[in-house]
């Protein structure tokens, strides 16, 4: 019993330097973990957004494949397909640009922009005049 009391009397707290070093280490660990967590989540979100955007782009491409070659330029400059898959990206914008690459060949470029234009996804298809109606 006397030995225990003596041992208790010898106990002392941590010094200021020890506490500060411990806090510094803890802060570094928390900061690095938090940064890694946020970065990972950001990338997962971006991946999900891009999957949604590319589904809308591919769907629009199927519509544009079916349009008559000679009427491609006169079609709406925004998406004509149902874009409900893009609803989570509101507000978003869509655009379609048609360019004559050479006689009988047109490039149709579709674009989706979201997050105030910070992010975008684009898909281009080449349409070749086949002489047939409504073919791609």
């Amino acid at each position: 019993m006397p030995r225990t009391m003596a041992a208790m009397r010898d106990q002392r707290g941590f010094s200021l330097v020890e506490v500060m070093v411990a806090f510094l280490v803890l802060t570094i660990v928390i900061t690095v973990s938090l940064a890694a967590f946020l970065e990972r989540n950001k990338r997962l979100q971006q991946a999900t957004e891009i999957v949604l955007a590319y589904q809308a782009l591919a769907n629009e491409a199927e519509y544009r494949r079916r349009m008559p070659f000679t009427e491609l330029e006169s079609q709406p400059a925004s998406f004509v397909s149902d874009t409900q898959v893009l609803d989570p990206l509101e507000p978003y914008g869509t655009a379609v640009k048609v360019e004559q690459v050479k006689p009988g060949v047109k490039s149709v470029t579709m674009t989706v922009r979201w997050r105030s234009g910070e992010r975008s996804a684009q898909l281009s298809v080449l349409r070749v005049e086949t002489g047939a109606s409504s073919l791609w």
Binding site: K42, Q45, T48, Q55, A58, Y63, V85, P88, W136
Partner: protein
């Protein structure tokens, strides 16, 4: 007894400083994650990351692209037309093979957690199954026809996640065959 007398609690100042530091940390954490949580609520589950779902959609896309359809008809039909019958959980396709022959492909999503692709080819039946799909896959998965330009050429596949958010919306249509 002496050591007990020396023990004391934290002063109000110490507790206040500690709580302030902790509070600042919490505020910074919530500010950093607020936008992230908001987007997480809006975005659907990325079902395309599920390899089974991606595999099924990839194979189905190829079947639809290889499908042969009578002029003016669709690879997906709701009513019996003497050729095939489909439902929101089934699609029947007449697919051209590289050898030039045809085979009938049935995609069946009626079994919970399983996608079945059954190919019929002149007396032979061949089945491919993708198991391990989400149990409610069939409930949230629908196949329908979509008009492209002026005719219902396309097949539209949609799937919602558990919260009813559209996660998959894909339009497929057959390609031209020589």
């Amino acid at each position: 007894m002496v050591s007990q007398q020396r023990q004391r609690g934290f002063s109000l100042l110490e507790v206040t400083i500690a709580m302030t530091v902790f509070g600042v940390f919490l505020v910074v954490f919530f500010m950093l994650t607020a936008e992230m949580r908001d987007w997480e609520k809006r975005l659907p589950v990325n079902l395309m990351r599920n390899p089974q779902i991606a595999g099924v959609l990839g194979r189905m896309r190829r079947d639809v692209q290889d499908a042969w359809i009578p002029f003016g008809k669709t690879p997906y039909v709701n009513e019996h037309d003497g050729f095939s019958m489909s439902s929101p959980n089934t699609i029947i396709l007449n697919v051209m093979q590289s050898t030039g022959g045809n085979q009938i492909i049935v995609w069946d999503f009626n079994t919970p957690g399983v996608a079945r692709r059954i190919a019929y080819n002149v007396g032979f039946k061949n089945e491919w199954r993708a198991a391990g799909l989400p149990e409610d896959f069939a409930k949230n998965f629908t196949i329908g026809a979509v008009e492209l330009n002026d005719r219902p050429y396309g097949v539209r596949i949609t799937m919602k996640d558990d919260h009813g958010r559209v996660a998959i919306d894909q339009i497929l249509q057959p390609r031209t065959h020589n």
